[in-house]
Amino acid sequence: MSEHIVTKKQYGYVFAILLILTLTTTWASYFDLGKLNVVVALVIATIKATLVVLFFMHVYWSSKLNKIVVVSGVAWLALLLWLTLTDIVSRGWLPFPGK
């Protein structure tokens, strides 16, 4: 595996972006955007998380295998949420007699 040393300057840029995004997301929460509040907050959180994973945790430079591991962790979490919500969301769809 080729050794890639990330400089402190590169870390610094990522750090600055993370702080700016934290401020942005906090600021955005003051506006009533309806359902969009959730979307905005989660999109910004995901951008922040991606930055941390790619650069602080070096996944950007690491092997394909490590990338697969990261993706599969997220995918399995999505699977858990998705199939559980299949049930929660569709519970009210069928009218039960007497309910």
Binding site: L65, S72, G73, W76, L79, L80, L83, T84, T86, D87, I88, V89, S90, R91, W93, L94
Partner: protein
């Protein structure tokens, strides 16, 4: 010559002596034996509970034990057999012993973590034992809420924490195997030259790593909920008990594959060796293990068809459940095709493998019955379900585990077991098993519910048959327990490769040296290529 092999060469058993050399060992082979001792004890204990259950069920009224005691008996039978025996059974013993040997490595990637995982397992097991001794637990192995969190008057928190702890041992074993299989293979040992046992251990490890944390956190939440009554799964506080079942089965359904996939790996090895043929459709068998691991995560809702889960979700889960049948069937067909025109010898491991294929097929096919919504509503919580999963777990995994133990026994101990007794016990186990569990299909279909200590008299004949079968089965398990211990001391010394197998583990001495191989092997052939053995003997 053969005797000299055993006595003069340094091996992992004679390398060091004393209790400390075992309890502080980092050798994967010794850790495998530590696990073997531990899980054999737990198997015996789980068997004792099963015995009391079967004796109670001989007569219709609940005359031997009270209903409360009966609840604890089947709960402890389930908890011990599943979490303390089945889950670690093949991976932690045979897997631990064989994974590094089969890939030509000196040890697992993280030997200290391997030892740590044994201690974690023992700590969790000790906690469960403690809970059992001070009063036991009566929730069923499934810990369904709100009974477990609000109503049960038994040691739920202690048992849940015990299982939570053993979960980490399972995670660490899986993690260790995945890293080892990726990073430590001998030169020339490409993915498609790996023995199929390695593929199945790899698939098993994926489930252990991705599934176990979810049950760990779920049991943690059960303990918290029970301790503080904060509402997470409590309907009276707005929580949703069905959510508990989702989280529980997200792990516990794939856990079935943690238990059976390693057995499938063993059967692939055995079927090939004793028919002197390459496994038919190697890549299909290899990928079907991974497919089972992945698809196994998509089907958990079929445990919840009558739980007030949405009908639409049930439809989806029912459909997905049928998909798991495809890779499972691929395996069964390919083993059968491997046998075709093979030169078959009926040694003990092969008998167990035959048992596995037949019983797993019955267990698997009744599984598709249960995945059918309409049928499942009829047989939910009956003995039909009990029979179904015992056909997979005991008929499948237990058969494969015993087959594997016999097959690798010469390698592990350097001694042969008595073949005649072994064949006899394989036969007794097979007959006893079917006599125990086949009547349960019938009585379950007729409506006998599970988890009751008393029942209407019309079911008695099936229960009597089942109890009689259980006695036979117990004898079947006792015979190997006796001759294995006997063989450790008095068995005939084993040659390095008694079965003429091709795996790397057979190319080193029996028992192997501490570092497995004197020279790191280089692999130039595919797995199960029996022509290389002829070349070796000619050359």
């Amino acid at each position: 010559m053969i005797t000299a092999t055993v006595q003069t060469r340094d091996n992992y058993l004679t390398h060091e002596y004393g209790v400390k050399s075992w309890l502080l060992t980092q050798d994967h082979k010794r850790i495998a034996l530590l696990y073997l001792a531990a899980i054999s004890f737990f198997f015996f204990l789980g068997g004792v509970f099963a015995t009391v259950i079967r004796v109670e069920l001989l007569t219709p009224p609940g005359d031997l034990v009270s209903s409360q005691t009966y609840n604890k008996l089947f709960t402890l039978h389930g908890v011990i057999m599943i979490f303390l025996f089945m889950i670690p059974s093949i991976p932690a013993t045979l897997g631990n012993f064989l994974v590094p040997m089969m890939i030509g490595a000196k040890d697992l990637a993280f030997p200290k973590i391997n030892l740590l995982s044994w201690y974690i397992f023992m700590a969790g097991g000790a906690l469960v034992m403690y809970a059992m001794l001070i009063g036991g637990v009566d929730t069923g192995w499934t810990f369904y809420t709100p009974f477990s969190t609000s109503y049960a008057n038994s040691y739920v928190i202690l048992t849940a924490v015990g299982i939570f702890i053993t979960g980490f041992s399972s995670i660490l074993t899986g993690l260790n195997f995945i890293v080892t299989i990726h990073r430590m293979r001998a030169p020339g040992l490409t993915w498609f030259r790996l023995p199929l046992f390695i593929w199945s251990m790899y698939a098993t490890s994926i489930i252990q790593v991705l599934g176990t944390p979810v049950i760990a956190v779920t049991l943690l939440l059960v303990a918290v909920e029970r301790g503080f009554h904060i509402g997470i799964f409590d309907p009276s506080l707005g929580g949703d008990p069905v959510l508990f079942q989702h989280l529980f089965w997200f792990y516990s359904h794939p856990a079935v594959y943690i238990m059976v996939l390693p057995g499938m790996g063993i059967v692939s090895e055995i079927v090939s060796v004793y028919s002197r043929k390459k496994v038919f459709g190697y890549r299909f068998v290899a990928f079907s293990s991974v497919a089972i691991a992945v698809l196994g995560f998509l089907v958990w809702g079929h445990h919840m068809f009558v739980s007030s889960q949405s009908v639409y979700a049930s439809l989806v889960f029912s459909f997905l459940s049928f998909m798991v049948a495809v890779p499972s069937a691929i395996k069964v067909f390919n083993w059968t095709a491997t046998l075709y025109k093979g030169s078959i010898s009926y040694d003990t491991p092969m008998l167990y493998a035959f048992g596995f294929i037949g019983l797993f097929t019955i267990g698997g096919l009744t599984g598709t019955f249960l995945a059918t919504l309409g049928f499942d509503v009829h047989v939910t919580d009956t003995y039909f379900v009990v029979a179904h999963f015992h056909y997979i777990m005991v008929g499948g995994t237990m058969m494969a585990y015993l087959g594997g133990l016999h097959y690798w026994w010469p390698k592990i101990t350097g001694r042969m077991y008595p073949e005649a007794w072994a064949k006899l016990s394989a036969l007794v186990v097979f007959l006893g098993f079917n006599l125990t569990f086949f009547p349960q299909f019938i009585m379950g279909y007729l409506g006998m519910p599970r988890r009751y200590h008393a029942y209407p008299p019309e079911f008695q004949i099936y229960h009597v048959l089942s109890t009689a079968g259980a006695s036979v089965l117990a004898v079947g398990y006792l015979i190997p327990a006796i001759y294995f211990v006997w063989a450790m001391r008095y068995g005939k010394p084993a040659p390095d490769n008694p079965w003429g197998a091709t795996g790397l583990e057979w190319q080193t001495t029996s028992p192997p040296p501490p570092e497995n191989f004197e020279i790191t092997p280089v692999v130039t052939h595919e797995a199960y290529d029996y022509s290389i053995l002829e070349e070796m003997t000619v050359g």
